[in-house]
């Protein structure tokens, strides 16, 4: 069971106060650390667990600049055999273009696979459609939001998907196929720095992105402007000492009928 796992290097923005560049076309990420997209971490772990049981080879694939090599090193440290970087000097926001690059790369470089795993979505742009578009481009079956892989048969995989309202769905899907893996499907292992150092010695392969666009469409979606949502009005900041502020608050709550 050979598996390609899509991995993306994303900024860790949860606790950061992001600043939009003056021209409104980008966000200043110069002081923000990066890591492997959380969903992709689960996807790599799931692939490693499957291959540990069933045998097979995992190939980590990433699109980005040379800095993205770090997520390939991590994937290798977790258990991938190989890492391939589709090197692009510009940030590829458009999931269609990302899928086009991946399709071109997988086909032209003859990367062997029975399944392609990716995270449900990326933490940065949150489109959540790259895996689906890739499956369509490759003409393969696709399952999203996979929360469990229960059985692998000769040319079929039995898996569970997460639906709205807490319902789960068990499906069988023909291989080869593309799956988007939901976080929580497993508990990804810890990758030590020693492990990453060892993985650095495994040769990664680098490919130029231009090779795989086939002169076809560039980005169909482009970022025109980043901006903060307008501040809403209506909030009242209570002034004065704590006791006064509490009295004011109680008065307001009574006035609004919240407190009897």
């Amino acid at each position: 069971m050979d598996i390609i796992v899509l991995t993306k290097r994303v900024p860790v923005t949860q606790e950061e106060e992001l600043k939009v560049a003056p021209d409104g076309r980008s966000v200043d990420l110069s002081r923000v650390p990066f890591r492997m997209n959380d969903w992709d971490n689960y996807a790599v772990e799931e692939a490693v667990r499957l291959c540990e049981k069933q045998g097979g080879v995992i190939t980590g694939v990433s699109i980005g600049d040379m800095e993205s090599d770090e997520v390939l090193r991590r994937a290798i440290a977790m258990g991938a055999k190989d890492g391939c970087l589709i090197e692009s000097q510009t940030v590829v926001h458009d999931p269609f273009t990302r899928a086009l690059l991946l399709k071109g790369f997988i086909e032209k470089e003859n990367i062997p696979f029975n399944m392609i795993f990716g995270g449900v979505q990326a933490e940065d742009d949150q489109f959540g459609v790259t895996c689906g578009i890739l499956a369509a481009m490759l003409g393969l079956p696709f399952a999203s939001m996979v929360i469990g892989i229960d059985d692998i048969q000769k040319d079929t995989v039995i898996l569970r998907r997460e639906l709205e309202g807490g319902i789960q769905e068990r499906i069988s899907i023909k291989t080869p196929c593309v799956l988007s893996i939901q976080s929580g499907i497993n508990e990804p292992r810890y990758v030590s720095i020693m492990g990453i150092r060892k993985a650095s010695k495994v040769e990664r392969r680098y490919f130029k992105a231009e090779k795989y666009l086939d002169g076809g469409a560039g980005s169909l979606i482009d970022v025109t402007r980043w901006f903060y949502p307008p501040k809403k009005e209506g909030a009242v900041i209570l002034q004065g000492e704590l006791d006064d502020a509490c009295k004011q608050l109680i008065g307001i709550l009574k006035e609004k009928g919240v407190l009897q």
Binding site: E16, R189, Y190, M194, G195
Partner: protein, 364 residues
């Protein structure tokens, strides 16, 4: 740097002195003597057990054969780390330290924000004459309860006319707990980054706010040619010299809790006591278990990030009860982990826990 394979497991005679001094053995499933035995015979070790150790070092200090049981714990944890098989909470702390250089995953860009609470500007270390670096612990930089400590110490040093500087967001975790968790590679990365900064800015002296940072930079960073001290050592000297005056009386009975990494591991017993004894109208008490045999608060060695699986009476609670029996209304300490672990039980019993710097701020 100390060798990781520093333990001498095969010379252990199973005398039990380690277990006798261990703050966890006999009260939790952890038993240091049993783990050493298992290590001797290469028996399997239950996954959760090594994570109970608080790295207080009592076992290593008491061992008559220099087995260094606390280093054996690090070796066991290290194997688990390399296998990727560690408790999730510990894993999160390590991953956060890798990404943000602090175990809480708070933005590195905000590491120096505490300095904004001061009424004066603290210079970057590069702008100072004497190249004395005030080094904050991650918990000081990000925890709202502990953030007051760097503010206090900076205020006290400034009042005494003692020049110092900071690194701000260039500072990263010292790695003391990371090494004890067994993540050797990450510890080395943190150490290398800190040392590179110290060299770049020509640091001559490090004033560590946490005994944990002081310990690793003093004993495990190798010979940096830099003097490393705890802030209580500096403040104690400034009080003796008259540069810092503790004039206001404080009607209080204070008992001093020795942090393991300051006291038993680095023998800094007197400076915090001298500071307390310099205060007017203060009765200074002593725990029965103090100095070398001080009872650990259970905050070290990664225990701040490990959810114990069994209920038991925590040392913090015992410590608070002992403080009350000794007649104290306040427990003073000089370590942020001790402060955090003692404060919850102390609130329940109605006594105060204060960092030495907080007490000093009340009397200057």
């Amino acid at each position: 740097m100390q060798e990781q394979a520093a333990s001498r497991v095969l010379v252990c005679i199973q005398c039990g002195k380690c277990t006798g001094g261990c703050p966890e053995s006999g009260r939790t499933p952890f038993n240091i003597r049993m783990l050493v035995r298992k290590r001797q015979f290469k028996y399997a070790i239950e996954e959760a057990l090594p994570w109970y150790c608080t790295a207080c070092n009592a076992c290593t200090l008491r061992c008559p054969r220099d087995v260094k049981p606390s280093e054996i714990i690090i070796e066991i944890r290290s194997s688990m780390v390399e296998e990727g098989n560690i408790p999730v909470t510990i894993q999160k702390a390590l991953e956060s330290t890798f990404v943000q250089k602090n175990p809480w995953g708070k933005p590195r860009s905000k590491r120096g924000d505490w300095a904004e609470k001061l009424g004066f500007k603290v210079p970057h270390i590069s702008e100072t004459e004497h190249k004395r670096l005030l080094f904050s612990c991650c918990i000081h930089a990000y925890d709202p309860r502990c953030m007051v400590i760097p503010v206090n110490v900076a205020t006290l040093l400034n009042k005494a006319g003692y020049e110092f500087g900071i690194l701000g967001e260039e500072e990263c975790c010292c790695g003391n707990e990371i090494r004890r968790i067994g993540e050797v590679g990450l510890f080395e990365e943190l150490m290398e980054e800190n040392i590179a900064n110290f060299k770049e800015y020509g640091v001559q002296e490090i004033i560590a706010l946490s005994p944990h940072c002081m310990n690793t930079m003093k004993n495990e960073y190798g010979d940096m040619g830099i003097k490393v001290v705890h802030y209580t050592e500096v403040l104690s000297d400034l009080i003796k010299e008259g540069a810092l005056k503790t004039e206001k009386p404080l009607e209080s009975g204070i008992i001093y809790h020795d942090p393991c990494f300051l006291g038993k591991q680095n023998k800094v017993f007197e400076p915090p006591r001298e500071i307390l004894k310099s205060l007017k109208n203060v009765n200074v008490h002593e725990f029965v278990r103090s100095r070398d045999i001080s009872l650990c608060c259970e905050g070290g060695g990664g225990r701040m990030f490990f959810d114990v699986e069994v209920p038991y009476q925590r040392n913090g609670e015992i410590r608070v009860t002992d403080a009350q029996k000794a007649g104290a209304d306040t427990i003073a300490t000089a370590c942020p982990f001790c402060l955090m672990n003692l404060e919850d039980p102390a609130k329940e019993k109605g006594i105060f826990v204060k960092d030495i710097s907080e007490i000093l701020m009340e009397v200057i």
